[in-house]
Symmetry: none
Subunit: 216 residues, 2 copies
């Protein structure tokens, strides 16, 4: 929960609270646990919520509106500005009971191996909170796409051309390359080194290597 | 893993194997554990892989190409038909070391709370395998069929390692590289040549060039 920026935990009739084992396992998220609200019934936990979604592993006899984890994350993120929202999880061994599932506007079901479909509680919480986090990032920016920052500027086309010239000279000088019978060597070199989008330092480094070869 | 339909587990130098505690925790996925391959080095685990992606929590001093979990799931699903793919995870306490991260074509980073960003190993495995599962479910979408055709197979990790070894020897031989004062040369070379995902012919071509340098 805390990894995914969610911090409001309600515990309905916990067997033991506070539980030393839980505190120990919470590691750096002990604050979430110590701030948890303990309530005597699910109704009390969700009374202020305008949207209630329950995690459900199984198909129910009476089908309920079902969201995928992704839809669930998007819906929660979209609606969280205006109201409180509850995401319900049942106990490790039995999941949510039918009575509690029927208090939900939606069920959310995590796609899984048909032969082994039941996730641990922690795993289910991880997936669903992850999708909320992803929805929040999609909303605010595209930072989680691969437009990551790089430590060096991309090499200019000019410097890339100078590199290829240097490469060809060096390969010719050591008789690895015969300009009169080039085959596909330079074409393949070009494809390799343009595909990678070298940065300026990489170009300098490779040209330094070529100069060292030439000096020898 | 098994929940998300993934069943090939490699363990690199496990502290204990088989470990009764792990067997107990595996619950209905004991088959994955008993079929796990135990190897003595990461190189052995990934030698046949044409794509290697490592889970990384932190920013590195020298940034590597980074995928979001969703991009990672899609990439793995798209490319898994043609080759073996490795998704690497480090130990619970320390994650992957730099040496191992530098064997990866991509790093994958799970967006998280900046104040509490480090996921448990199990949580990270859950998120990344979930995204592979989600990509598999979306397989009917056209975008996942958009190929990605190439004339040569991707180079295997084994051949890429042999190339790096050859490169380092050659650079040392011509006194361009000083193994006793390496600076960041090999790291930057590794980043450049893993990022581009060389094909087998490109590796042969570059090794031919290195051999020509050595002969001179």
């Amino acid at each position: 929960m805390k990894n995914m920026c969610i911090d409001k935990l309600y515990l309905v009739e916990p067997r033991e609270f506070p539980a030393p084992r839980a505190v120990w396992r919470a590691a750096g998220a002990k604050d979430v646990l110590s701030d948890a609200k303990v309530v005597n019934s699910l109704d009390e936990a969700i009374e202020d919520c305008g949207l209630v979604i329950g995690a459900s592993a199984r198909e129910r006899r009476i089908p309920w509106p079902v969201l995928s984890p992704r839809e669930c994350g998007e819906k929660i993120w979209m609606e969280a500005a205006n109201q409180s929202i509850a995401l319900l999880f049942g106990s490790e061994d039995r999941g949510l009971c039918n009575e509690h599932l029927q208090k939900c506007h939606y069920h959310v079901c995590i796609p899984a191996n048909p032969d082994y479909s039941s996730l641990n509680l922690a795993a289910a919480v991880q997936v669903l909170t992850y999708e909320i986090k992803m929805a929040s990032l999609a909303q605010t920016d595209d930072k989680f796409h691969s437009n990551h920052t790089w430590d060096m500027p991309y090499a200019t086309s000019k410097n890339i051309e100078l590199f290829f010239k240097h490469l060809e000279e060096t390969m010719t000088g050591i008789e690895f390359h015969d300009p009169d019978n080039p085959k596909q060597l330079m074409t393949r070199m070009r494809r390799l080194f343009t595909r990678v989008r070298m940065d300026e330092m990489e170009v300098s480094m490779l040209r330094g290597l070529l100069s060292a070869v030439q000096r020898k």
